[in-house]
């Protein structure tokens, strides 16, 4: 099985698909890489020659940040936003949507699974909670 960019071992799929298993490579970049290296997109990943693998790695390293580097870059960008005290940084810190989406409903990707708050029905219980909070 071919090893690309460290730990990524795409299986016996077409390489145009297998390349997308690398973090930071999607359809556009996969097509670009194969065009640069002149490899047939339909070729199976496990039939690649050592030369072809080397060529793919060369193109990726020359053009893109992938895997660990990319993840580090992204988290650094977020850390910058947080450290300068910007609105976007604050939204990241709170785990809420960053780009102005609504939060009255939806926003479940950022907020995680629903947790119901709900009112306390019993009046005595409610007063007890209120006094405990004071």
């Amino acid at each position: 099985m071919p090893r690309l960019m460290g730990i990524d071992i795409p299986d016996n799929k077409r390489i145009e698909i297998a390349l997308r298993y690398i973090h930071g490579i999607g359809p556009t970049r996969a097509a670009f890489i194969l065009e640069q290296t002149k490899i047939d997109p339909g070729k199976r990943a496990n039939t690649l020659t050592a030369d072809e693998i080397r060529a793919i790695i060369a193109v990726i390293q020359a053009n893109f940040h992938v895997e660990g580097d990319l993840r580090r870059e992204v988290s650094q960008n977020i850390r910058r936003l947080v450290s300068i005290g910007s609105y976007r940084g604050m939204r990241h810190r709170k785990g809420l949507p960053v780009r102005g989406q609504r939060t009255r409903t939806n926003a479940r990707t950022r907020k995680g699974a629903k947790h119901t708050v709900g009112a306390v029905r019993d009046k005595a219980e409610r007063n007890a909670l209120k006094n405990a909070a004071k």
Partner: protein, 92 residues
Amino acid sequence: MPRSLKKGPYVEESLLAKVEKMNQSARKQPIKTWSRRSMITPEFVGLTFSIHNGKTFLPIFITENMVGHRLGEFAPTRTFKKHGATTDKATK
């Protein structure tokens, strides 16, 4: 869609004039501004701005990392009072 590069960053004219004046004078006082939409340019670094948040002016010291952001991003306009059935709105 981002702003056209041809135009350059947007900074309120009057604010830019104040920044230049402040950079020439030795003592640095906070610059009071309502112009939250003005972009922070490299000349702003090292100055303190009192940015209006709709109610009060928040003093914000500008560092190098903030260049390219807008002043308003550093002065939040909303205050979040916590959720929950246990907080009785009427008593607060």
